[in-house]
């Protein structure tokens, strides 16, 4: 097993870090972990449903931009919001992932369901990106 730590260090009080091989694991594992974390945070059903649509969208499109054959997520909740990070994307991967979420006639799923979207550069040369989505509830 590799001993590379997950990118954001030790988990904080209400957070889960998740690294998954690029493949069939991403959608089911991410969805179940996020739903468990949100259920514990007393997230209302409508926002839980929104979060699962976000997870499905990320699982569908993020594999194309994974930088090392793995997808890395962190999920952190407070009493009023969930922050979902897609970490270690390739350069421009976050922008492209966001663009891929556009659905004709509906708009951009990630933009419509998230209250806040950010892109962070990582790595010394900025060769890695994170897409950070915040969904608020309560």
């Amino acid at each position: 097993m590799t001993d590379t730590p997950l990118p954001d260090g030790p988990p904080t009080e209400n957070s889960v870090s998740l690294r998954l091989a690029n493949g069939p694991l991403a959608a089911p594992v991410l969805g179940r972990v996020v739903s468990m974390v949100l259920a514990r945070a007393d997230c209302p059903m409508d926002r839980l449903d929104d979060a699962l649509i976000v997870c499905d969208t990320l699982s569908a499109h993020a594999p194309a931009y994974a930088s090392d054959g793995h997808l890395t997520f962190t999920v952190a909740t407070s009493t009023r919001e969930i922050e979902l990070r897609v970490c270690e994307l390739a350069a421009q991967g976050a922008v492209k992932l966001l663009a891929d979420a556009a659905v004709p006639g509906v708009g951009n799923v990630l933009e419509r369901l998230s209250d806040e979207l950010q892109i962070e550069q990582a790595g010394d040369d900025g060769s890695r990106e994170s897409l950070i989505l915040t969904l608020r509830f309560g």
Partner: protein, 137 residues
């Protein structure tokens, strides 16, 4: 403990608290679904992983500080390797243990092999190997 070189298919890092055992169990449920693991074998895997995680929560951080729980799963041909890690002082007999002491024997009975030890970063780990073929389970 001899390190394997394969990158895990699934790696979870979360605070070592009882509520998070459910998160781990659900993650393994999804892993079983994705890899079409036999239901009985998956039940054994989830039970053994639950026991290993419970050991971390009950025994690893007795000083009151909350530490981390890491769970790694790697699919290798007809086997699933699961490693449960913590940053506690290690596995040792405990006279004041609140449990019955059945956790490790139960894990041993559900796995093909189980290794207890410390990794290169001095973290305590339980390394479990599960056969995925029903005939060998």
């Amino acid at each position: 403990m001899t390190p394997a070189t394969t990158t895990p298919d699934m790696e979870l890092a979360l605070p070592a608290r009882a509520a998070n055992i459910a998160v781990v169990r659900h993650a393994f449920g999804a892993l079983g679904e994705a890899f079409a693991i036999d239901q009985q074998i998956l039940a054994n895997i989830r039970l053994a992983v639950t026991e290993a995680c419970t050991n971390v929560i009950v025994h690893a951080y007795r000083d009151g500080n909350e530490g981390s729980l890491e769970v790694l799963a790697t699919l290798l041909k007809e086997k699933l390797i699961v490693v449960v890690r913590d940053q506690g002082p290690g596995i040792a007999p405990r006279a004041d243990s609140p449990g019955l002491g059945l956790g490790l024997p139960l894990i041993a009975s559900l796995t093909e092999s189980v290794l207890l030890g410390r990794d290169d970063d001095d973290r305590t780990e339980v390394r479990m190997t599960f056969p995925l073929s029903p005939a060998r389970a």
